[in-house]
C-alpha cells in the first residue's frame, strides 16, 4: 500500500474540459504524481484502483437517474470531495433545460426519445451531497486546481478568492472594457481566471459564476440605461454557464418579460 494520498477524478454530465485542466498541468504533472497516487482518472489512465479515496474531483452536473445514484457512492468513498467547474458547481450550460420542458428538448433532439433517460433538471453536485470545496469556471483555472491540491497536501487553507473579477482585472492593469462601452459580467462574477477575457479586450462572460455578493440588477439596469444591452440580452448574459446559480438565476428571471 502506498502512503501517498489517493486522488480520484469523476465525470458526470460535462464536456471533459475541466478534467483536461488537470492534464494541462504539464510542467507539474510529474511532481504531482510523485506525491499523489492517481487512483482513478480514466481520461488519463486505464488503471483504476479501488476506493476509498482521499480526494475526489467531481466534474459535471447531475443530469441522469444513474448520476443521481453514483454521486452518493462517490461521496461515501471520498474523504474530501471537490466539485470542479460550472457544471459541477451550478449545473452548467445543460442547466438551461431547467428553464424549459425537458420532454420538448428530448423529442426535438433525439430520433428515439424513448431510449433517453434523463432528469427534468441538471443540478450542481452540492444539491445532492455535501461538497467540501468548489472550484468555479468553464473551464476551471489550472492554477486554482494546483493551489487546492497543494493546500490540501500541506493542510492549509487554499487561496481561492470569492470577490469580483474586477479586482484581478485592476491588479493586472487592464483598462475596464465596461467603462469603455463593452458589456461585462466582471463586476458580478467571481475572480479566479485572472480576468482572462477583459485582458483580451472582451467582456467577461461570467463563467466563474456569481461573486460573493453580486448585484446583478444594478449592473443590468445600468446597461439598459446606457443602451449597452436590452432586457432580452441580459436574460442571455445571466443564463450562460451558470444559469442555475441562484443569484444569476434570479437576475436573469427578473429581466424576462
Amino acid at each position: 500500500m502506498s502512503e501517498k494520498p489517493k486522488l480520484a477524478v469523476w465525470k458526470f454530465s460535462s464536456c471533459d474540459g475541466c478534467q483536461l485542466s488537470l492534464l494541462d498541468c504539464e510542467d507539474e504533472l510529474l511532481a504531482i504524481t510523485g506525491v499523489i497516487t492517481v487512483a482513478n482518472f480514466v481520461e488519463a489512465s486505464r488503471e483504476v484502483l479501488p476506493g476509498p479515496y482521499d480526494v475526489s474531483l467531481v466534474e459535471g452536473s447531475v443530469t441522469t437517474p444513474h448520476e443521481k445514484e453514483l454521486i452518493q457512492e462517490i461521496r461515501k468513498e471520498s474523504a474530501i470531495l471537490i466539485s470542479i467547474g460550472a457544471c459541477a458547481t451550478a449545473g452548467g450550460i445543460q442547466a438551461l433545460k431547467n428553464f424549459a420542458d425537458v420532454k420538448d428538448y428530448v423529442s426535438a433532439v433525439y430520433a428515439h426519445p424513448e431510449y433517453i433517460k434523463t432528469l427534468a433538471t441538471a443540478t450542481a453536485i452540492s444539491e445532492h451531497v455535501k461538497v467540501d470545496y468548489e472550484l468555479r469556471g468553464c473551464p476551471i483555472n489550472k492554477e486554482q486546481l494546483l493551489e487546492v491540491v497543494i493546500a490540501l497536501l500541506q493542510k492549509r487553507r487554499p487561496n481561492i478568492p470569492l470577490y469580483s473579477v474586477c479586482i484581478e482585472c485592476k491588479r493586472r492593469g487592464t483598462s475596464c472594457v465596461m467603462v469603455k462601452g463593452t458589456p461585462c459580467m466582471g463586476p458580478v462574477t467571481q475572480a479566479g481566471c485572472n480576468a482572462l477575457c477583459p485582458a483580451h479586450n472582451r467582456g467577461c462572460y461570467g463563467c466563474f459564476g456569481p461573486m460573493e455578493m453580486p448585484n446583478g440588477r444594478s449592473l443590468g439596469n445600468w446597461m439598459i440605461d446606457k443602451k449597452m444591452a436590452e432586457p432580452k440580452d441580459l436574460v442571455r448574459m445571466f443564463r450562460t454557464f451558470n444559469a442555475d446559480a441562484p443569484a444569476f438565476k434570479e437576475a436573469g428571471n427578473s429581466y424576462e418579460k
Binding site: 479586482i167 461573486m211 455578493m213
Partner: protein, 389 residues
C-alpha cells in the same frame, strides 16, 4: 532649492531629449501611452510613444479616448490607474522561506526595486503620492520597498491645461497646478505657430537634468500663457466637493438611510478602491510549492469592499454592502483626516469614471449635506438604531 532656477522654455522639438536624458541616467521612464482605447501609464523610450493628439472624455461610469484638434502630448486627463501601480505594485513578494524537515530559513525579497522617472504626473496624482508617503514612509508602519522606489523616483509633473467632467481637484485643493513635490514641472503651450513647454525646476536633480536640455529663458508672456492654461483647466471643472465640515457631516451620518440607497446601486466590485491613487489596503497570501519545502509570502492589493476584508474571528463584521460603502467614503473623506492629517481624496475623479455603474462620491456627499440642511429629508426613522452590519 525650489525657485532657485528661473522658469525656462523647452521647444516641442527638443522634448525627446528630456526622455532620452532620463533614460541615459538609468531611469525606467514611464509616461502616458495610448493602448486598447485608453491612455495608461507604461514605459516609454521616446516622445513618439506619447499619445500625441489624443485626449479623453469622461463621465460617471464612462471613458472614451477622442482625437484632439491639436498635437498635444499631454492633452489627456487622469487615466484609469495612477502611479500607485509602480510605487506600490498590486502583487509583491515580501519574503520566501526555504526549508526541510529539520529547519527553515526566511529570505527577504532582495530584488533591487526599479528606479523610475514618471513623466506627466498631474497635480492631483502628485498629491496622492505624497499621501501614500505618509502611509508608507512614516517610521511606525514603514514599507521599506515603497520607500526605496519612492526615493529613487524622478517626477516630471505636467500642469493640466484641461479637465475631465469627473475632475474636482480644485475643490480638494490639490490642482490643477502642481506647486511642489516635483523635480521638474511642465506646462504644455500650443499656439498657432508654437508648441513648447514652460518648465520649472523643483529640485537639484531637476536642475542637473535641465543642464542637458536645450532651453531658453521664459518670458512674462510665457509664464502668463502657462497660468492661463491651468486657470482654464480649473474653470472647466463641473464637479466639486464641499470640504467644509465634511468630517463632521459624515461622522454624524452614520445611521443615515441613504447608505442603503447607495447599496442598491453599489456592486461591491471594488473598482473605486482599485483605481483610487491613495487607497492602500492590502492582504497577504502564502503560497507553497508541491514539495512543501518552499513558501512565499505575497502582498496583494485588497479592498474594503470584499467580505473577507473585515473577517475577524467568527465572521465578517461588514456584512452589508451599505456598511462597506460607508466605511470607504467615511475613511476617504473623514477619518483619514484624523489618521493621516489630510483628506484621503485628491479629486482625481477616478472612482467616478471607473465605477461600472457610475456612483459619484461628489453627488453622494451632496445628498448627505442636503439632508443635514433639511431635516425633513432625513430617513433616520427607518434605520434600526445601532450598528448597520
Amino acid at each position: 532649492m525650489k525657485d532657485a532656477m528661473p522658469a525656462v522654455c523647452i521647444d516641442r522639438a527638443d522634448f525627446d531629449s528630456v526622455i532620452k536624458a532620463l533614460a541615459g541616467d538609468g531611469y525606467n521612464v514611464v509616461g502616458p501611452v495610448l493602448r486598447e482605447g485608453a491612455i495608461i501609464y507604461d514605459e516609454i523610450s521616446g516622445v513618439s510613444d506619447l499619445p500625441e493628439g489624443w485626449g479623453d472624455e469622461q463621465e460617471a461610469g464612462t471613458y472614451r479616448t477622442v482625437k484632439r484638434n491639436d498635437k498635444a502630448l499631454f492633452g489627456h486627463n487622469s487615466g484609469q490607474q495612477a502611479w500607485k501601480k509602480f510605487l506600490y505594485p498590486s502583487r509583491e513578494r515580501l519574503w520566501s522561506a526555504q526549508g526541510d524537515n529539520a529547519e527553515f530559513k526566511i529570505e527577504p525579497n532582495a530584488e533591487t526595486p526599479p528606479k523610475y522617472a514618471f513623466v506627466g504626473v498631474h497635480a492631483c496624482d502628485l498629491r496622492a503620492i505624497e499621501i501614500q508617503d505618509i502611509v508608507f514612509m512614516n517610521p511606525e508602519t514603514a514599507d521599506p520597498r515603497y520607500g526605496k522606489r519612492r526615493e529613487g523616483a524622478f517626477i516630471v509633473a505636467v500642469n493640466c491645461a484641461q479637465s475631465a467632467k469627473t475632475c474636482f481637484c480644485a475643490a480638494m485643493g490639490t490642482g490643477p497646478r502642481a506647486e511642489s513635490g516635483f523635480d521638474l514641472s511642465l506646462t504644455e503651450i500650443i499656439e498657432a505657430n508654437a508648441h513648447y513647454f514652460v518648465a520649472t525646476v523643483g529640485s537639484a536633480r531637476g536642475e542637473t537634468l535641465m543642464q542637458k536640455i536645450k532651453s531658453r529663458p521664459a518670458t512674462d508672456a510665457d509664464l502668463q500663457a502657462a497660468a492661463t492654461r491651468t486657470e482654464n483647466a480649473q474653470k472647466q471643472q463641473v464637479r466639486s466637493l464641499d470640504r467644509e465640515g465634511v468630517k463632521e457631516l459624515l461622522f454624524s451620518s452614520y445611521s443615515d438611510a441613504h447608505w442603503d440607497k447607495i447599496a442598491e446601486r453599489c456592486l461591491s466590485c471594488a473598482n473605486c478602491t482599485m483605481v483610487c491613487p491613495t487607497c492602500f489596503c492590502s492582504k497577504t497570501e502564502d503560497t507553497t510549492d508541491l514539495s512543501g519545502n518552499h513558501a512565499d509570502r505575497w502582498r496583494l492589493w485588497d479592498s474594503c469592499f470584499t467580505v473577507d476584508f473585515s473577517y475577524i474571528h467568527g465572521g465578517s463584521i461588514r456584512k452589508q454592502v451599505a456598511s462597506r460603502y460607508r466605511q470607504w467614503m467615511t475613511h476617504k473623506l473623514a477619518s483619514w483626516i484624523d489618521q493621516f492629517g489630510t483628506s484621503g481624496c485628491v479629486g482625481c475623479g477616478r472612482c467616478i469614471t471607473w465605477c461600472p455603474v457610475g456612483i459619484d462620491i461628489t453627488e453622494e456627499a451632496k445628498v448627505f449635506r442636503e439632508e443635514k440642511m433639511d431635516p425633513r429629508l432625513r430617513g433616520d426613522d427607518e434605520v434600526v438604531k445601532g450598528t448597520k452590519q
